[in-house]
């Protein structure tokens, strides 16, 4: 039995086995590269949801020209610098569903910043300035550390402080360095899964 041609089949078996297992591991290893495709899909859902939410808040429920200043809730919240109500409205929008079992992701966190242009910025400073408007947590900075990849949704908002009679000045110009004129600001919201 044990001679010079012996164990040939055993060696073949080992070789074939190692070959197959190696290939399988190799294939497994390469295909995991493609799994980020999944992430993009959730991003896409999240981005669409965020954009929709901002667009719907920027659309008055009744014709503005007929009812005088038709209330644009987004403009009002920005001019009056009301971040509490913004959080309520925004969360209310993005969590609205026909069936609570259907969810994009269970817990959505956000962080909203407003960018605006100053007519005459301080020396050595950029024309475009920003301030933190609102976030889902209470502390703005705690949201910025160690978080999931976020998607960014934006909305231009035309704000005209004249629509919201100043007392004595519109809140937004009191709290921040924003010009008093009618202007376009950019509301940027970062959304991520909590």
């Amino acid at each position: 039995m044990v001679n010079d041609q012996a164990q040939m089949y055993t060696l073949e078996g080992f070789a074939a086995g190692v070959l197959m297992l190696l290939t399988a591991y190799l294939v497994l290893g390469t295909t995991t590269v493609y799994t980020p495709g999944d992430v993009h899909i959730t991003d896409m859902q999240l981005q669409q949801l965020g954009s929709d939410a901002l667009a719907m808040m920027d659309l008055p429920d009744t014709e503005p020209e007929i009812y005088g200043s038709g209330e644009n809730i987004l403009e009002k919240l920005i001019v009056t610098d009301n971040s509490t109500d913004f959080r309520t409205y925004f969360l209310d929008n993005i969590t609205r569903t026909t069936d609570p079992k259907k969810t994009v992701v269970n817990d959505i966190q956000f962080n909203a910043t407003i960018y605006y242009r100053m007519e005459s910025p301080p020396v050595n400073e950029s024309e475009i300035q920003s301030y933190h408007f609102c976030s889902s947590g209470n502390d703005a900075r705690s949201d910025l550390v160690s978080r999931e990849p976020a998607v960014r949704v934006t909305r231009f908002v035309t704000i005209d402080a004249k629509h919201y009679p100043p007392n004595p000045k519109p809140q937004i110009t009191l709290n921040h360095d924003v010009d008093e004129r009618a202007q376009v600001v950019l509301l940027e919201v970062l959304l991520w899964r909590g």
């Binding site: 010079d4 041609q5 040939m8 089949y9 073949e12 078996g13 070789a15 074939a16 086995g17 070959l19 197959m20 290939t23 399988a24 294939v27 390469t30 295909t31 493609y34 980020p36 495709g37 993009h40 899909i41 991003d43 896409m44 981005q47 669409q48 954009s51 667009a55 920027d58 020209e65 960018y115 605006y116 242009r117 007519e119 950029s126 024309e127 475009i128 998607v151 949704v153 934006t154 909305r155 231009f156 035309t158 004129r181 009618a182 202007q183 376009v184 600001v185 950019l186 940027e188």
Partner: protein
């Protein structure tokens, strides 16, 4: 070992065939995921929401254009839009240069028996997607 050639090593051969099969399968799977990935990435990359936002904002501003001109705020508002697009979105949003006095809109340039039209030119380019639109905003003529 000289008998190797005669035996044909068919077990190793079978193993090799299985490996080829697995590779083939993996290539097919990899192809299908690439499709899915590009669909959702394509959706993410195409700035549909940005264009819709810009468009509705331009129309809104055009509706109140005369009031803004009267308040001397019209140019600033357009500059806000252009600068914010450039700085925050790396996007070129442009005035139509042929209307020098009233760069974006030309009020009452066109009209028929019922309406006068304001022409709004929208140009959007974020380096990947370019979008141009000429939009006619109409107002009923006051009798």
């Amino acid at each position: 070992m000289e008998r190797l050639n005669d035996e044909g090593q068919w077990i190793v051969l079978m193993g090799f065939m299985v490996c080829v099969g697995i590779f083939f399968l993996a290539i097919i799977i990899a192809q299908s995921t690439v499709v899915g990935q590009t669909t959702s990435e394509g959706v993410l990359e195409f700035p549909k929401n940005d264009i819709q936002d810009l468009r509705s904002e331009m129309i809104e501003i055009a509706k109140n254009w005369e009031q803004y001109v009267g308040d001397g705020e019209a140019d600033d508002i357009m500059k806000d839009l252009v600068t914010l697009s450039m700085v925050r979105k790396n996007t070129v949003v442009k005035y139509a240069p042929d209307y020098s006095s009233d760069p974006t809109f030309k009020t009452g340039a066109m009209s028929d028996s019922y309406n006068s039209y304001t022409r709004i030119k929208i140009h959007f380019n974020n380096g990947v997607t370019e979008y141009d639109e000429t939009f006619l905003l109409s107002r009923p003529k006051t009798p």
